[in-house]
Symmetry: C2
Subunit: 427 residues, 2 copies
């Protein structure tokens, strides 16, 4: 069996063979994705892509985050970009990418276009995300280090699989979709730190819609082109990395961000979150983190809200002072320069430590009573489902208001008609 | 100066600094491109992309080959695909790609959209094509051998430059366009022999429109991402290949196809074309061609019109019998199986010969009078401009009728309003 055959099998998994746990985790990601898309709708890059949609116009096939409708291909472009604009969406560390922002906008736009029911939509989103993660694993770290952005490249395959599933494709059409999207999948890491990064998610989602519609319209590509994509884009021979394609379900390992800042800071914030009344009890914090993060998110004295998103000292000072780091508003320029908070940063010291994993952080706390405590957290440590759900609901409420978050959660958990979710997105 | 800086300088070349010879050759390519697009409009892949355009609808910003209008981004997608459907368009051997099908559809759609005059349109098309060839040279043979399709990848940069020029961008916006399209440029050689190949031209053209419109709408990408594109897509270190970017004007070396078959057969047909009354005089032909072509276009006994397009024996038998190999209709299943013609194939022998260049062919002819003659042709040998023009007009007349070809040529050579050309395309 070729890689394509294996992916086609995965894409066409029967509903009865889909693990319930994976479905439940996709439910969390859908709620989380809605919050990110709704909160991101006023970001500058969101305005840019919405302007393109307005300029082109066209058939109102699917809703746009922030209002209006557009052809499905455009809706996927807009909603993929908008939902990644805040960089607050889910991450799969093994995939090295953000599965939902590439796959969900495609699945939602196609579900609206074909009138799919809630179960078909959610299964398509889940299977697309699962497939994108396995393609990401197959392409591997070499792909990422070469300069490609898995979110966009592997993401396009996942989006295309979701779209093909919603079109009711058989194995031969699904292979054609994989082959066609192989010639279209793109996205460079060079866009990190610019509007090009969220746009990469939008192009993945849009590529998925486009490939499925063209195959439905009769385009016959090379159905094996995906095999060549591996060779052209991996920087190494990955023909043997088939085990990643045949792996057990991996999507459920997805991580959600519970803090509106760089993912490199999250383990420290989670570890600190376990300390009771920290503003009363903690005198000083030594942050032990993997040295790779020191060049990523260790700005010592940021003076903007954006800068604080990349600063151990700033976010731990905020947490000590009781500010809610899940809220976007916390990362304001005002708070970044508040003298009391700026002063508290001096109680935080950051230490590169090879003994700590890349996804973990160890905090050594000097307490006000003179004692020392150590707390640690690893983002890969599984949390109980209910804990994850509670954290996601708190975040979703912060991003889109409590009532709307509750409506969205009910909608997702009852697998209601996806057009209702689409209207929430636009409304 | 970076690669991007150099390309931006090229993209913003003042009209007075553009060589007249390059302009004249672009004029030929425009006439040739129109013929390919008009003749390609009924091909199956043309129907497929037109169906997507109809399905999406939208603002009538630019005309579609075969009729109707669509947003400029979609018009570029359709017209790029349609004009490459027959694989009869121009080729630049150093670029290793087809410059016009990626760049011209983008330039024409944007010219319509912004209401550019004929001179601005043609300069944008020329400079976009020139830029795409230089990017193709920079990416080099390694890029192609790795599995990328320069037409699509390098082509997207050329299309984007043409679009940016028509938008009146300054250097900083032009750099942004180059940086943005770097995250979108894609296309695999794996699609050769399928509808995915012409689609690759369409995506290049469409990517150019999209990048320019998004930058105009305010998208701020990494303006240096093109530098990373070289690293991710070349398979080797090409940082030093700057000389290709700074080269003299290279577009004028473009080759036009004068026969509706594989480019590997063209030198043989051109050499044979110099023989007077061949059907009366030639008894046998020995074709000396570079061995690389033996696996490409040496089908010994094809029984379909398509097969004949990849057969030395078939096309030389056709030429001996006086059939016009510039006409698409010549490559019919009927002619492929006509007994007299099939019999004549046995008078043609094909010999792989390392002494012959990849772009050349030597024919050893046994004449009916018992004498032997040798004729040869190399596609890289420059032809006088008027000879090129006459051949292109004959081809254009075969593809779109004599009157229409004359109207198109007048339109191009008088640099008339590009919307007139666009209407010819649609009409």
């Amino acid at each position: 069996m070729t890689i394509t055959d294996r992916l086609v099998d995965l894409a066409l998994t029967e509903p009865d063979d889909i693990p319930e746990r994976a479905r439940a985790v996709m439910g969390l990601s859908l709620i989380d994705w809605m919050g990110c898309a709704i909160a991101g709708r006023h970001e500058p890059v969101a305005q840019v892509v919405r302007r393109l949609a307005t300029d082109e116009g066209g058939a109102p096939q699917a809703h746009l985050a922030g209002g209006g409708q557009a052809p499905a291909r455009m809706a996927a472009l807009v909603n993929g970009t908008v939902s990644h604009a805040l960089d607050y969406d889910d991450t799969h560390f093994a995939h090295i990418g953000h599965p939902s922002v590439a796959v969900v906008p495609c699945a939602l736009a196609m579900a609206e276009r074909v009138g799919a029911d809630g179960a078909a939509f959610q299964d398509a989103a889940l299977i697309g995300a699962e497939l994108s993660v396995r393609v990401g694993l197959w392409l591997g770290r070499g792909h990422y280090q070469l300069g490609f952005h898995q979110t966009a490249t592997a993401g396009a395959f996942g989006a295309a699989a979701a779209a093909g599933r919603l079109m009711g494709f058989n194995a031969s059409k699904m292979a054609a979709v994989m082959g066609l999207v192989a010639t279209r999948a793109s996205g460079l890491k060079a866009q990190f730190g610019t509007m090009g990064k969220p746009f990469n998610a939008g192009i993945a989602a849009s590529n998925g819609v486009e490939a499925a519609l063209l195959v439905a319209n009769g385009l016959v590509p090379n159905p094996s082109a995906l095999e060549d994509f591996g060779a052209t884009h991996s920087g190494s021979n990955i023909k043997d990395a088939v085990n990643h394609i045949d792996s057990d379900w991996v999507f459920s390992d997805v991580s959600h961000k519970y803090h509106a800042c760089c993912h490199g800071l999250h383990a420290a914030l989670e570890a600190f979150g376990a300390v009771e009344d920290p503003h009363l009890n903690v005198a000083r914090i030594a942050v032990h983190t993997h040295p790779r993060w020191l060049s990523v998110c260790n700005q010592p004295d940021p003076d903007t809200g954006l800068g604080c998103k990349f600063s151990y000292r700033a976010v731990l000072a905020m947490a000590m002072a009781g500010h809610d780091t899940s809220r976007l508003e916390t990362f304001s320029d005002g708070l970044a320069t508040e003298p009391a908070l700026v002063g508290m940063r001096d109680r935080v010291e950051v230490i590169g430590d090879e003994q700590v994993s890349e996804t973990g952080t160890r905090l050594v706390l000097q307490m006000n009573d003179g004692s020392e405590r150590q707390v640690e957290h690893d983002l890969l440590t599984p949390l109980p489902f209910e804990t994850r759900r509670a954290k996601i609901m708190a975040k979703a409420s912060a991003l889109m208001g409590e009532e709307r978050a509750a409506r969205v959660a009910r909608h997702v958990e009852e697998q209601a008609d996806p057009s209702g979710l689409a209207r929430e997105l636009a409304g």
